[in-house]
Symmetry: C2
């Protein structure tokens, strides 16, 4: 059934690849239907035939990239047992993604959505799953702790995505990455400090999780 490609699916993929690459190298402003088509080696009309326009194509590219990256983060992050490890792990991937250009597409589209108000809701809706994801990851490592009472996971998730959104911008604006480096260092220096707050209440050494007994009784030692 799927032995030979449906022909259309292949060009769709090539267009998505070309779109992402063009945005990465030329910036959103330099990403026209013709530029994408040229990079993909096909006729520009196919951008409209398959995706209905340039923006829908770029959003499709963003969606594909977003799914890939979230899967990577999810897998890496599930090993983190506390806040410090969580920040460390996430930062490591994020930093690599930044170098590898995986974040560029997102940044470019965020920038574009600022310039073009009609795009904003599209971008906002695509940021939603990430906020959800970050919130859940945070809740898992600090949920129920004093830190979580001071800074609820949802608010912290906003702060985190906001911060890293800002880091994106800095990375774009700063060629040499000195500042980006300083920002990462900062985040990683703060995390261990904050971790102290996650385990200070005596008699509740570990925040409650899914697997805990519903009545709150402790298992035998």
């Amino acid at each position: 059934m799927t032995e030979k490609q449906q022909s259309g699916a292949e060009t769709r993929d090539r267009l998505i690849d070309a779109a992402a690459e063009t945005v990465r190298s030329q910036g959103y402003a330099g990403t026209s239907a013709r530029a994408i088509a040229k990079a993909a080696g096909v006729n520009s009309a196919l951008v409209f035939y398959h995706f209905g326009g340039v923006d829908p194509l770029l959003l499709a590219a963003l969606d594909r990239s977003s799914e890939q990256r979230m899967a990577a983060y999810r897998q890496a992050v599930q090993k983190a047992g506390n806040l410090e490890e969580l920040v460390e792990t996430a930062s490591a991937i994020y930093r690599a993604d930044l170098e590898g250009g995986h974040i560029t597409l997102f940044s470019e589209l965020v920038g574009a959505s600022i310039a073009r108000p009609e795009l904003r809701s599209e971008i906002t809706s695509r940021a939603e799953p990430w906020i959800e994801f970050i919130e859940q990851a945070l809740d898992r490592v600090i949920g129920g702790s004093p830190l979580a009472r001071l800074l609820p996971p949802r608010d912290l998730a906003y702060a985190a995505i906001t911060f890293y959104l800002g880091v994106n911008l800095f990375t774009h604006l700063d060629a040499d990455r000195t500042r980006t480096q300083a920002l990462f260092d900062l985040a990683e220096r703060v995390a261990p400090r904050a971790r102290l707050l996650t385990m200070r209440v005596p008699g509740r050494r570990r925040p409650p999780r899914e697997g805990d007994r519903p009545d709150g009784t402790a298992p035998a030692r």
Copy 2:
């Protein structure tokens, strides 16, 4: 000498006003030379005659706004005696600026500079004075404290501008401002906590400042 306007200066001002307003209402993408000229009620050729192009005009608008705002921040912030007050004061102005659209121009140009790499250095150089300003303000309230050892004012300044850059984006992307609100709350909840760190070393209750005796001796009680 300046009794009657030099005629050219007036249209320059009107163009700058119109440019800022157009960016605010139409976004960077909708800000063409013709759109600006129409808003200003003059011929579009004047954009090129007076400023040499659209981008230089927008940068001029940014410069004017930047100077105004920094003066406001400087005046308000100089009263702050500690970190908590500093964050509180700065946040208050920033929040008002956000509502009043004073930040929009900056955000739009940052967004545009992402889409158009040739603009990046222009924006970067204009962010520099702000980093400097924030660093100095921070250094004044936490300089020499344990907190400053953990998080040097320069790094903190990067973090602050990054964070508020992200807040800008969120404000653009989110019409209802719920998240923006949460972010401000967060910052203001964290500041008092961090303040504890600025005054924990016994015998050094106040970080050294400009007016202190150069040899470090304490004045008589």
